[in-house]
């Protein structure tokens, strides 16, 4: 199996996985969603809330805010040295103290560490004149399988497209017009594929062709993953962690046998 990274900038990544089978690709996808650890707010201690939202609603919204995570610096709460008491190696405590009239955003949460901040720009609640909000939020490591707030990204994969144009092609251009992604073109009286990786395997081109000259297939041994991180971890690191988690599970299995 080989892995190649197409685009690895920050929160978006396109990764090619070769010489693999669909079960493995799916396992990776599922691992990204449910097994990659992330920081998210788990407990909210509310001292003052005169906002228009109930405490529980506020807490729910805070839980969903993605928090930049450094996996090397945190343990899970139940496996931490402090025994779950809430020390700095398992818990990140963010504070919020605001008074209206203003909109309280995710970046108004104060973190003890400038590298472990919540992703900015997410509105939490609108405070009117005189309305106050004072709270502490404890962020903890968790996995998507326990609660969606810990899901680091959205993922999808597709087979690597294989488009073959044979000699029956008359260069009529029907397929070129039919393609919703505009990846076909006519060059020297033949239809040519301009950007194979953008193909979505919709087969509109094959349907449009009256000569059966174009054939669209997906290669079930090569996969293009598209990962969009929520900001908690860089997209490429998410993929790496997912691989590691699968590896850990496989090793656990071997040790049990």
């Amino acid at each position: 199996m080989e892995v190649r990274i197409f685009e690895g900038e920050g929160n978006r990544a396109k990764i090619l996985l070769e010489n693999a089978n669909p079960s493995y690709a799916n396992a990776l996808r599922r691992a990204i969603l449910s097994e990659v650890p992330t920081l998210a707010i788990e407990d909210v201690i509310i001292y003052e809330n005169s906002s228009s939202l109930y405490d529980e609603i506020l807490a729910h919204r805070l839980g969903l805010v993605p928090i930049r995570t450094d996996l090397k610096r945190f343990n899970f709460r139940d496996s931490c040295v402090c025994g779950g008491a809430g020390c700095p190696s398992c818990t990140l405590t963010l504070t919020l103290e605001e008074e209206g009239p203003k909109v309280v955003y995710s970046h108004d949460l104060k973190s003890p560490d400038p590298e472990l901040t919540p992703v900015e720009g997410i509105p939490i609640v609108k405070l009117g004149k005189g309305q106050r909000l004072r709270l502490e939020a404890e962020a903890v490591l968790g996995k998507g399988k326990e609660h969606a707030k810990w899901q680091p990204a959205v993922v999808g994969y597709k087979y690597y497209p294989v488009i073959e144009v044979n000699d029956k092609c008359t260069a009529c251009g029907e397929c070129v017009a039919a393609c919703p992604r505009d990846i076909l073109a006519i060059e020297e009286n033949k239809v040519v594929v301009k950007d194979i990786e953008a193909c979505t395997l919709c087969r509109a081109c094959a349907q449009a062709c009256e000569e059966e000259a174009i054939n669209v297939k997906g290669d079930p041994t090569r996969f293009i993953f598209t990962i969009e991180s929520n900001g908690s971890l860089p997209a490429v690191e998410i993929f790496r962690e997912a691989c590691r988690e699968i590896s850990k599970k496989a090793e656990k299995m071997v040790s049990l046998l």
Partner: protein, 43 residues
């Protein structure tokens, strides 16, 4: 521990006492939020 609807003053009312502000006589009082610190699960 109630707040008067017009003069905003904090008023303490005993059980079975008439519902009116002892300072300004206004008859609508709001209950103030308890000072107990609340711990909520963010789920």
């Amino acid at each position: 521990m109630y707040r008067c609807g017009s003069c905003q003053r904090e008023v303490e009312l005993a059980k079975d006492e008439p519902v009116r502000c002892p300072f300004c006589g206004y008859k609508i009082l709001f209950k103030v939020r308890s000072s107990v610190v609340k711990r909520v699960k963010a789920r």
